[in-house]
């Protein structure tokens, strides 16, 4: 009797969280998989079962492959850079320097600003001829360049925006981690005569691993999730040079109204993110030291 009660009690406690999770995470994922095997219903034409047709179409879709590779480059370009920057900024504003709260605020500001507004500002930074970047580069005699309007620089230009946006956010986590670190460690190391670099490499960094893991997971998710600035700044152009996977899904789903094909693309994104998260937890977890 008490066992049943306890059992019931446990499930009741779980219920609110589970209901939300099932309703907004698990059910949509399964429904999405289901829809990806059917054609898109249009007007009077009902959806019919098409099996893996959409996945076959996907394999032949050059824009999908370009969006995927763009996204991988984007992840590769933004994640390590924003994490490294975050770490450096945190280390700096953690020290005793004048006006450090102002500095912290300055670093964190990009995170607070709404992405759409930010993207519009960056759009003018990158404007050829009279944009801020152009005006600055002109001082050094660099010839004018259309940053968002040429295929070679559009994606890197978008990456810069992402790094600028993300680094401050991650800095907050590193700052919290730094502040929870016991000062005795540094004192002990100083007595032992360890260099600052040695101390960072062998003590600080390993102790930061849980934070790094958390930040890394978030960074990977963000790299595949951040598309607001694509919508504002380039709409995936020129000729799909800045099309990221999620933006392409949006385009297929809400501009072309091909919801079934969008469902198939979403499955790819889901699997990709799932695999990335799993890999991070399996491999990095072992090397992570929780205090």
């Amino acid at each position: 009797m008490t066992r049943t009660k306890e059992w019931l009690y446990g499930w009741l406690l779980l219920l609110p969280a589970m209901a939300l999770l099932v309703l907004f995470t698990h059910y949509p994922a399964v429904a999405n998989l289901w829809h990806s095997f059917y054609s898109t219903p249009r007007g009077s034409r009902q959806a019919v079962f098409v099996g893996v047709d959409h996945y076959r179409q996907l394999a032949d879709d050059p824009i999908f492959w370009q969006a995927l590779s763009n996204n991988l480059w984007y992840a590769l370009g933004t994640i390590p850079l924003s994490i490294a920057l975050a770490l450096m900024m945190a280390a700096w504003v953690n020290g005793r320097i004048a006006g450090r709260s102002v500095l912290r605020l300055a670093y964190f500001t990009p995170t607070i600003l709404p992405m759409i507004a930010v993207a519009n500002i960056w759009l003018f930074f990158y404007t050829p001829e009279y944009g801020l970047l152009e005006q600055f580069l002109r001082l050094f005699g660099v010839p004018t360049h259309n940053w968002l309007g040429s295929q070679s620089t559009a994606l890197p230009a978008m990456m810069v925006v992402a790094v600028w946006k993300e680094a401050g956010f991650f800095m907050i986590f590193y700052l919290a981690a730094f502040q929870s670190m016991s000062p005795h460690l540094a004192e002990a190391a100083a007595i032992e005569g360890a260099s600052r670099w040695y101390f960072f490499r062998r003590v600080t960094f390993p102790l930061l691993m849980p934070t790094t893991l958390f930040v890394l997971v978030n960074a990977v998710i963000n790299a595949f999730r951040l598309v607001d600035h694509v919508v504002v700044m380039t709409r995936g152009g020129p000729d799909n040079a800045t099309a990221l996977l999620l933006y392409y899904i949006y385009e297929i789903g809400f501009r072309f109204w091909d919801s079934a094909y969008a469902a198939a693309l979403t499955m790819v994104l889901l699997v990709l993110l799932g695999a990335a998260a799993l890999a991070q937890f399996l491999f990095l977890e072992r090397r992570t030291h929780y205090q």
């Binding site: 007007g43 759009l123 001829e129 259309n146 309007g149 000729d239």
Partner: protein
Amino acid sequence: MRLRTFQRLIVSVAAALASVIALAQAPVEVSFFYPVAVGGPITKIVDGLAADFEKENPGIKLRPIYSGSYQESIAKALTAVKSGEPPVTSILLSTDMFTLIDEDAIVPFDDLVKTPEDTAWLKSFYPGFMENSQTGGKTWGIPFQRSTVVLYYNKEAFKEAGLDPNKPPANWKEMVDYAQKLTKRDASGRVTQWGVQIPSSGFPYWLFQGLAIENGVNLMNAAGTETYYDKPEVIEALQYWVDLVKKYKVHPEGIVEWGTTPKDFFERKVAMVWTTTGNLTNVRSNAKFDFGVAMLPANKQRGSPTGGGNFYLFKKSTPTQREAAFKFIKWVTTPQRAAQWGIDTGYVAVRADAWETPAMKQYVAGFAPAAVARDQLPYAKAELSTHDNQRVTKALNDGLQAALTGTKTPEQALKDAQRESERILRAYK
């Protein structure tokens, strides 16, 4: 006692009657989505129109709902169709017609046009605007906030370059010649003022369509089942655009952003720009120099695509609601109101007689550029619109951007775009 019962009976009968009357007079609710795509206090103007209409038609309750950009509006409207409660009427892009038909979301206006006045009203719109509103012999959209592409030029820059500020380029050759004279370089060879620019971000197809029409062909058939991206005239048109950049070097390199084009013009970074008539009010209030507005230059003929939004009627509505919405659409497109809407927003008044109203005549007398769009309308052709419109258009957009950034030749880019569009349109033949 009996009297009491009788009284009670009377009262209840009266109450029942009253509620029956109230039911009969319950106002018809007409919800309507509208997007805002140009600057200015549009929402206020629309709310004002709705209030005036309700005052004149007490039986109708109009609910205008601001639905974001055009893109967001169609997304909202179609999602509402799928979830079962669409608006009764909505202003959406005229090019969304085939998409809305294919989704079985809208009904044609023909069944509502009964009286001779209605027929005359339907015929009063500029034919150029109706091309994107009719297909298969039926009228699916009523032009409301419509625009076209025009050329804006800096008269001061014209004078500095020794050109006649009252003679904008009339044809392609003149545009190149003028642009060469207007392009200024500093000592190091850096361009300080470009001759001309045609924006190519987002929806380059729309501006490119101007070039193609001027070269003698439009990009699709009226049924929306075929595109002509790789016709020689179209390839020639793209070659001209690419030549402005690469050969004559009078047009900025790479993709030119649509959103910053008006600012490029105010900042005197470019002497001539192609953009929508919808920017007229914006340019008028921000350009600190004397500017002119002109029809697009001709090659084989003059030409420009139309653009902008139409009224649509949604299928999931009651006949009374449709009648009410129809009444509103007729009311809001009378010559006086069409004229006032054009003056307030910068859109082109959609019917010829609107330009004959006193208010419009006075406006044009004080601000001549406003009439350029009207004068160009006889040469205007339908905006690119087909079945599965956005996808077919994207194929062209990608091709145009590839050619402009130099990764493909115009011929290759347009052949690829045509192949892709044929693949998509196969299902609709």
